[in-house]
């Protein structure tokens, strides 16, 4: 397949991130194509969230380059802040502003970045709420009144408020029951199709890796050790990847081969 630079939403090249002497990300390279859903797996504490936070500029890097939608990303500089309109982030715990209602949470990025009438802002907020499968009445609730699944949906609606080109999801289905997790996966897939999103998803959920991700990248020892569609990763020879996908827990999910 011919790959031109314009095809990539995120390009990470030779990235090194560490805290004092402890190196977490070690000369890592990763390209995310436009319009794909990329799942990132890795050991707990292995640097998945660090990689995601470095890409969005929350953690400074030691070496390497990061480009998001063709623009280089520094840490906390003006270029990164202006790039912020082009991505939306779903944090693991939702990170909703607890003193604002659900509707105000969704309107917050709109209010800060655009000049638009109150009426239109309400309509857009309700539209986003309905797109993530919530009811317009839920807009008046406060984050403390929401269940785990609803919190994730509202956080997704807020991440999508400005119609970003890329959404970063940090363990979107953790803490949800299998049915809710399945619904959430389906929602991500639908929204990705309708809005043409690029999705960068950190997850441990084997089911969502299998059903929604176009490609899966495995992070071990600070490097991407395998990347490709799920069936390629299942055949990967890397010991950690084998242990991850062929361990006891993942075997339990598969029907017994006769």
């Amino acid at each position: 397949m011919q790959e031109s630079p314009g095809q990539f939403a995120i390009r990470v090249h030779d990235l090194v991130v560490g805290f004092r002497r402890h190196i977490v990300i070690d000369h890592l390279a990763l390209d995310v194509r436009r319009g794909e859903i990329l799942g990132l797996v890795g050991a707990s504490g292995g640097g998945k969230s660090v990689l995601m936070r470095t890409i969005i500029g929350l953690i400074p890097r030691q070496e390497g380059e990061i480009e998001v939608m063709g623009a280089p990303i520094g840490s906390h500089d003006r270029a990164t802040r202006s790039a912020a309109g082009r991505w939306g982030i779903l944090f693991q715990q939702g990170a909703l502003f607890s003193s604002l209602t659900v509707r105000q949470n969704i309107q917050f990025p709109l209010r800060e970045n655009l000049v638009l009438s109150g009426e239109l802002m309400d309509e857009i907020a309700t539209a986003k709420l309905e797109m993530v499968g919530l009811k317009p009445e839920d807009g008046d609730k406060f984050p403390s009144e929401l269940s785990g699944g609803m919190t994730k949906r509202v956080a997704l609606a807020r991440a999508l408020a400005l119609d970003p080109a890329i959404v970063f999801l940090d363990e979107p289905t953790s803490g949800l029951d299998p049915i809710a997790a399945g619904d959430f996966d389906a929602l991500i897939k639908t929204l990705q199709k309708t809005l043409g999103l690029t999705v960068f998803m950190v997850t441990h959920d084997l089911a969502s890796l299998n059903t929604v991700c176009d490609r899966v990248a495995a992070l071990a020892d600070g490097k991407i050790v395998a990347i490709g569609p799920m069936r390629e990763l299942l055949q990967s020879g890397h010991p950690w990847v084998r242990a991850y996908f062929h361990g006891k827990r993942s075997q339990m999910l598969q029907p017994k081969a006769s």
């Binding site: 607890s98 239109l120 857009i124 539209a127 309905e130 403390s144 043409g196």
Partner: protein
């Protein structure tokens, strides 16, 4: 890549043809809203509205919603609206937007302002009585916890108690000394300045001594402790409540009152008399220095006058109040901490309430003590 959005409207006979073009995206919202508002009146009069989207370069939810709103307006006026020329890229988005905002949530009927006011007053009255209940409840649970500790002295968290004492007493000494020193100095200066007019400047010593030992020393220190340690207690317990740490404690069969609150309150009850004593001494010292340098009264004379002016009774009256004030501050701080709910805002609100309420109660308590001591002739 983004281009300026356009909207051309051509009316041929009964048909209004709308041709949006360019980038219909959120970044252009100001222009888009203007364009949409400009054609809005025409939508109500034309028989058929034809929306030709062939020239739309970019489209996002916001742009799609504005276009959908136009076609909805035409439909609701009883006309026909056709959407044509939708590119495959955006068909899904247009379809999705067509489903949203169909049902407006039932508007809440506005309340009668007079009724609302009365209901607010009622609510706050009930709230005030709940406050009293919460205070008494906390005091009761504290007594039960103390009885439990008396029965099993080993269950007292000594490490925690010592640590809390270190925080509320030892670390508070510098600021308490500084502030009470200044207050003592200011009282002495004012006294000398005004008493001098009728030649009574030597009575300044009586004023400083009695005022500081009976009232001001303990009151100022109690107010400072309420602001310094009471607020810290409320914020600590509140954030522990938010993160379910207190629930975790009770599920392990431990009593949060005994584990968290008892050491804190005992530390405060021990600390406040000590701080009041140190504070009173600092205030007298400040007063003495001002009397010497500003009033020209030699330290030996100041001390001799002080000896005549104050008795141990004055000191007792002041210091007896301290543990009770500490108890009030501690109980209020802990019970407000436990009333914190999920949000960051509620933590801030409860901390403010804790400080305001404990300062208020400390002053009320001081008034009650004044009445009491006056009636027993102390």
């Amino acid at each position: 890549m983004a281009t300026a959005p356009l909207l051309t409207a051509t009316a041929t006979g009964d048909v209004l043809e709308l041709r949006p073009g360019g980038s219909w995206i959120a970044a252009n919202v100001a222009t888009l809203e203007r364009l949409a508002d400009a054609v809005a009146p025409q939508l109500d009069h034309s028989g058929t509205v034809k929306l030709d989207m062939a020239e739309v370069r970019e489209l996002d939810t916001l742009g799609a919603w504005l276009l959908e709103k136009m076609s909805r307006r035409a439909t609701s006026a009883g006309h026909r609206a056709d959407v044509v020329g939708v590119s495959d890229n955006y068909a899904g988005l247009i379809e999705e937007v067509r489903q949203v905002n169909r049902r407006t949530p039932a508007a809440v009927p506005p309340r009668n302002p007079i009724v609302a006011k009365i209901s607010d007053i009622g609510r706050s009255t009930i709230g005030a009585s709940e406050d009293v209940t919460a205070f008494l409840q906390m005091l009761g649970s504290l007594c039960i916890a103390i009885l439990g500790v008396l029965r099993r002295p080993r269950s007292l968290r000594l490490t925690s108690l010592v640590y809390q004492f270190y925080r509320v007493c030892w670390q508070a000494i510098p600021i308490v000394v500084l502030i009470t020193f200044l207050i003592g100095a200011i009282i002495a200066q004012q006294g000398i300045f005004h008493f001098r007019k009728f030649g009574a400047d030597s009575y300044v010593v009586d004023m400083v001594g009695i005022l500081v030992l009976r009232e001001l020393g303990v009151l100022i220190v109690a107010i400072m402790v309420a602001g310094r340690s009471g607020s810290a207690y409320t914020a600590e317990l509140g954030s522990m409540k938010m993160r379910e740490e207190i629930d975790a404690l009770s599920t392990m069969g431990l009593d949060p009152i005994e584990v968290l609150m008892l050491p804190r309150i005992i530390a405060l009850v021990c600390a406040l008399p000590i701080l009041s004593f140190i504070g009173s001494m600092a205030a007298l010292y400040g007063g003495g220095l001002v009397a010497w340098f500003y009033g020209g009264m030699r330290p030996a004379i100041f001390i001799a006058r002080l000896h005549e002016a104050v008795s141990v009774t004055h000191f007792e009256v002041g210091i007896i109040k301290a543990p009770f004030m500490a108890l009030v501050i501690g109980v209020v701080a802990c019970s407000e901490g436990l009333r914190v709910k999920g949000s960051a805002e509620s933590l801030g609100k409860q901390t403010t309430t804790s400080v305001v309420k404990s300062i208020f109660l400390v002053i009320v308590l001081d008034g009650l003590f004044a009445v009491f001591f006056a009636s027993i002739g102390m």
